[in-house]
Symmetry: C2
Subunit: 323 residues, 2 copies
Amino acid sequence: MALPTFHDVERAAARLKGVARETPVQTSRQLDGYSHASVFLKCENFQRVGAFKFRGAYNAVTQRSSSQPVVALSSGNHAQGIALACRLSGKVAHLVMPEPVNPIKRAAVQEYGGIVHVPADPRDAELFSRDLVRELQGEWIEAFNDADVIAGQGTAALELLGHVPDLEILLGPIGGGGLLSGTCLAAHGINPRVRVFACEPAGALDALYSIRENRIVPQERPQTIAEGLRTSVGTLTLPVLRDHLAGFFVVEEEEIVAAMRFVYERMKLVIEPASAVAVAPLLRREPALRGKRVGVIISGGNVDLSQYFDGLSSACPPFSGER
Amino acid sequence: MALPTFHDVERAAARLKGVARETPVQTSRQLDGYSHASVFLKCENFQRVGAFKFRGAYNAVTQRSSSQPVVALSSGNHAQGIALACRLSGKVAHLVMPEPVNPIKRAAVQEYGGIVHVPADPRDAELFSRDLVRELQGEWIEAFNDADVIAGQGTAALELLGHVPDLEILLGPIGGGGLLSGTCLAAHGINPRVRVFACEPAGALDALYSIRENRIVPQERPQTIAEGLRTSVGTLTLPVLRDHLAGFFVVEEEEIVAAMRFVYERMKLVIEPASAVAVAPLLRREPALRGKRVGVIISGGNVDLSQYFDGLSSACPPFSGER
């Protein structure tokens, strides 16, 4: 598969027009004050399915010309993105969701009409998926190592730079690198001087090593609450990232939680841990960011709040009023 | 004190221009789908200090012509609003905050330069405040029963109707009635056919009884997690509400938690329980709201999430990677 280009990002943006939400850009006096920077959050937590993943999924689904069913492997946001994209395109989506499956995400996929398959052994998920593709003569769409997916993800940065053209720096979280490679293509297609930094949890540092060694260093035993960032980079994302990234910010787990808390409490936004990874370098006032105009891709807001709300419910006083 | 008018709301809007945030209006396909209505949330959780209260506080503080210190009684959002308004106006703010004081709110007030007083006995808070006003020759600003405060709160609805002129119904939570009476004045000044409904917890139903009996029925022993709604209506808010309200929606505690959860999980917004009170009637598909264009004033997002984040922190895997 050929590497995606800026032109692909632009074409993806045209396809997504009126389908994906043009998400708002939020600012905060408090975040600017703490970070000593001017910060612009591109709120993909407000995107359809609650994450940027809808962009890439929709672009890829509509680029597969056949009307064959689509097969994807994901227990997370990619699954929801593919399910909704297929529904909107009149295609059938088969989602292979290895355990542990969050029941809310599973329900969301099914609400969009996706057919869910749970392999008996999560370690067989890839084999299971390949068999399913063959059986159904389906179209396989990878979560990040796919040129159409990457081009779709880049449209978030394209919109952000459309809103705030004079950004000097862009930050985003890195897992498989789909979001970040798309962001690089978009940013440098518009302005080659924008510096794009990848933000990676210390407990899942494969992307940093992969770029240093210029080969895919697999992510083994990742230890981070940022679920979406536990994957390894791919054959398409690695070369794009290598050519475009200005550097990495490595973030500790406690910083992820502190950044999440800041964004919830001060900015009133529900974000997932992966998004907080890209906010954390601002809160510790990375020297490279001070005094700069910084855009941050807030990747999504799909987080399990059951414990919080179960606690609230049990704290409810029993009803004692009259009507 | 004379009752506030629509003209007062318009003048307040002029004063707040460039000072208060013109908060965004958010929509959600999912909320529209569930409620069978077209819903527009005016997001005052994104307002300065995290709640609409800044509007009224700033309008009142700047209308007190003297440079005397300002005294207010509040453990909640009004305290933060007054503290910030005073800082912006070069005045000294004294906040009487009866226990229990949320340490985050106390810290926020102090961050804005407010001087915090905690009366030894919370039952003496009013007496304590009156003494303080006399001692300091201060300006007293009530949390809701103040014409300038009411006019300021009305500017949220004014902005909302500016964004979405063809709204048929407005919903807001009711405690002391400052937000709702300002909303009534704003809405009917623009379009007398807009129907404004008050949303009140079943466990704190004083406003409904007060309007029915056309006298202030004091709120005794309120039982609701919506802290901000535990107060009684006042001599200024009652007549405005009586003349303008189309009706009440009474909301159970479980509905408040369910509506909060819906807004966090589906719309990715951090809101406080009082705001959820105004969303709940939509989720139970009140007949009066079906098929209508409904605006909702989301009052704020100041909620204590400590338990959730403490839980997240302790779930963090210990750091094991290398740098």
